[in-house]
Each structure stands twice: as C-alpha cells, then as structure tokens.
C-alpha cells in the first residue's frame, strides 16, 4: 500500500481540472488543461463527434470504408467511429479496408491487428492486394526494379489502392486517420514545395467530393499526442512499427520533426499551422491544374494516364524506369503555371516508410 500511496503523491496531487476529483493523467496539448482519464475520453470522443456533425462528414445510410493500416491512428479511428455511430445513431455502415502490398513478412503483424479490430469493433474487413489491383506484388516489383526507386511505386500504388479497394466495396466515402499533426506537416511541405494546388486542398476535411469516392479526415483537429495516449492505454503495446522495409532511407520527416519541436515550445502551433493553410487565398492568376481522369483506368489524373498506369506500363513492358524520372515534357501544356503537379515528388509526405494512406 505504501507503493500505491507514493505513486499517487508523485503526480503532485494534481487533480483533473474538469471533475476536480480524480487524479489528472494527461496534459492536453490543445488546451493545456490537466485532465483525468475518464474526463479525457469523454471530451476526446465528444470533440470528434462535434467535428463530424459540424462538418457534415457523413449522411445516414452511407457506407463508409475506414482506411485501416493497423497503426494507431486508424485503429483509434475505427474504435471511435464505431462507438459514435452506435451512440449517436449515425446510421452508417462501417467497414475496415486494408491493403496488402505483397511484401513477404511485412504485413503479417498489421493485418493481425486489423483482424483483431474486425472482431473487437464488429466491423467487416476487406483486404485488397496489389496482386488483385495491379497484377504485381511489391516483392515482384522490387525484383524487377531494385531497391532504389521502389518507393515511387509504394506511394503511387498505395494512394490508388485505397480508392480502388473502396470502389470494389461500393462505399460512399473513405475515412482516414490523418490527424492534426499530419495535416500541419503537409501544409508545411506544400509551402516548402510551392505546391499551391495541394496547399489549398490539404487542409480540407473532405476532399474529392467531385470524384467517385470522397475522403474525409475526422481527426483533422485531433492531436497525435492524444491519439497516442488513447491508444497506449487500451491497446497497451499491442503496436508495432509500420516502417516500410523497402525504404530504410526514405525521407524521414524533417517537417515532422520541426512540427514536434514547435509543439514542445507552443502546442497551439499545430492548429495555427492548419489555420494558416486554410487561410491562404489563391490569386486568380495562378492556374490550377485541370482535374481529368486517366484514359486507361478512370482514376483521377491531370494527365492522360495516371501515375500508376504509367508505372504499370513500364513494368509490363519490361521498362521499369518508365515514369520514375520526372515527366515534365508530358502534357505540360495543361499545367504550365503549376509546373510539375502530379509528378513523382508529389506523393503525400507520408507516402513511403509508413503504411498510411
């Protein structure tokens, strides 16, 4: 009993600023409040509910695929959405959608986690493989192209895989686990790259509303720290690294680190960066790239063929380097002012090295 007593002393007798009864367990980065576990879960879920309602992310009766990587963000998202759907009668038909890239040994753990989520949250799981979607597994691709350029493939194929899987499932919308830190990071990267088109899109909570399957980010305002805190508690360390084994030297997030440094000094910085991104106005003289569709597969593309089809064509013709070198010449009359908009470098910041979408 001595131990237990001294342990409660350690927290400095700090009480939860919400209930004033229980011991605080977390300092909320958004508000700097000290809050107990029980009160935290309550506000955590309630805030996400408010975001969902306030932004009309879903409509009753919709089929929603949760992009499930097995990592913490999508696991917490699956949990929270299934909770809220029940509690507030959203009337949603929720699914877990996972992608199997076909990298031997690599997906075993994460697919196990997703399969557990399927049971725990009672959400049907659909696993779509690269082999199904593209006719090639990542292992087969690496055999052909070597390790050097494979991350181009990882990123391009992964982005499309989710959409293609979602259309197989005939869902109305995809929900992804991107959190506030992710979005702040993307804002910074788009500024650093001068990518105005993406800058104006990346803070939107719902994107692709004109396309076949819109995507939304219910965690847009949710700090990663709070997701980790939630996750660490009820999943303990049933968690694994999601580093892509084919990218030991992948870009490791300079922008990410910068954001985490800022957060330590001033936690508000993350929401402020998102706000900055939202408030950028694009001058009318900046030509936005036209959004068309790929002539081959129908996926959204500003060029004749989408990136995946260009890469696949190269693979299938035995010219795997095709499409990897920046393809400025191609179709550049469409996007003169934007310079390369859909090139290989524009895969979102979390492209490779992670299993995220």
């Amino acid at each position: 009993m001595e131990v237990a007593e001294s342990k409660s002393k350690k927290a400095g007798g700090r009480l939860c600023s919400t209930c004033n009864q229980r011991k605080a367990a977390l300092k909320r980065p958004k508000t700097l409040e000290q809050i107990c576990r029980e009160c935290f879960y309550e506000v955590f879920e309630e805030e996400i509910h408010q975001v969902i309602v306030g932004n009309q992310l879903f409509k009753a009766g919709e089929r929603i695929a949760i992009g499930a990587s097995g990592g913490k963000d999508s696991t917490v998202l699956a949990f929270v959405l299934s909770e809220l759907n029940r509690r507030h009668n959203y009337g949603l038909d929720l699914f877990l959608l996972s992608i199997d890239e076909g990298i031997s040994g690599y997906r075993d753990d994460s697919l196990q986690t997703v399969k557990r989520n399927e049971i725990q949250y009672g959400l049907p799981l659909k696993i779509v493989s690269y082999k199904d979607l593209y006719g090639w597994t990542m292992d087969e691709i690496v055999k052909v192209i070597g390790l050097k350029n494979n991350c181009t493939f990882c990123g391009v194929f992964r982005r499309q895989a989710l959409d293609r899987g979602a259309s197989l499932l005939k869902v109305d919308k995809i929900a992804t686990g991107h959190n506030a830190d992710d979005i702040a990071e993307t804002v910074l990267l788009n500024i650093l790259r001068g990518d105005i088109a993406r800058l104006s899109r990346c803070t939107l909570i719902t994107t692709g509303e004109d396309g076949p399957i819109p995507r939304c980010k219910p965690f847009k305002y949710t700090y990663e720290k709070e997701i980790m805190f939630t996750y660490a508690y009820f999943k303990r360390l049933d968690y694994f690294s999601t580093e892509c084994i084919y990218s030991p030297n992948a870009y490791r997030g300079f922008a990410r680190e910068f954001i985490k440094d800022l957060e330590r000094l001033r936690p508000r910085a993350i929401l402020d960066i998102i706000k900055s991104g939202e408030n950028f106005r694009i001058s009318t003289s900046t030509k936005m790239p036209e959004q068309g569709t790929c002539e081959r597969c129908g996926y959204i593309s500003s060029q004749k063929w989408c990136k995946a089809c260009v890469l696949l064509e190269g693979l299938n013709r035995g010219l795997p380097k095709m499409g990897i070198v920046r393809s400025r010449g191609q179709n550049n009359e469409r996007t003169k002012d934007m310079k390369q908009n859909k090139g290989t470098k524009n895969i979102e910041s979390k492209q490779c090295g992670t299993l995220d979408f």
């Binding site: 350690k10 605080a24 990592g71």
Partner: protein, 99 residues
C-alpha cells in the same frame, strides 16, 4: 531500483525489438534519488542499440515521444525532474513511422 520500461510505436526496434524491459537502475553517485533525466541517460547507454537520435534529442526524449510514468503523462509530473520510485512503470511510445 526495479523499474519496468516499455517501448512502443517502433521504439522497440531501437532496443533489439524487445518491448518490455525489467531493469534495475541505481541512482547516480552522490544522489539518493533517481529522476527521469538519469533514467533517460541510462536507457541511452544500456538499452538503445541503434539510431539513438530516434529516441533522444539533447538530454530529453525526442519531441513526439509520449512518456507515461505509471500511466500518467510525464508533463504533469515534471518531465525530466520526475522522481522515480521502486516498481514504477515507464512507457515510451513514439510515432517514428507514422501510424
């Protein structure tokens, strides 16, 4: 002092892929108590086998690593100055590689 250290979110990869370590750490010479600052340098020397920069930055953990002492955010207990006691459980969880 017997402590349980848990590494998650990819940090375990830095210490031979072992997630839970039951360790015995003695306070530094001339000191009676062990604080988190001492523990971090002990972990850096004894448990982290590769890429220490993924765990430490300066004399603290790298920003973005969540530290829980007995399930409690270390930002509430004084971070580096948190005093550790016998049988404490310290969790380090990171988002090294997304999630």
């Amino acid at each position: 002092m017997q402590l349980t250290l848990e590494f998650g979110g990819g940090l375990e990869l830095l210490c031979d892929s072992v997630k839970v370590h039951n360790v015995d750490v003695v306070p530094p010479k001339g000191s009676e108590k062990l604080i988190m600052k001492d523990l971090l340098s002990w972990v850096g020397t004894n448990l982290i086998k590769e890429r220490p920069e993924m765990f430490m930055k300066g004399d603290s953990v790298r920003p973005g690593v969540l530290v829980l002492v007995n399930d409690c955010d270390w930002e509430l207990s004084g971070q580096l100055d948190t005093t550790l006691e016998e049988k404490d459980v310290v969790v380090f969880i990171s988002t090294l590689h997304g999630g």
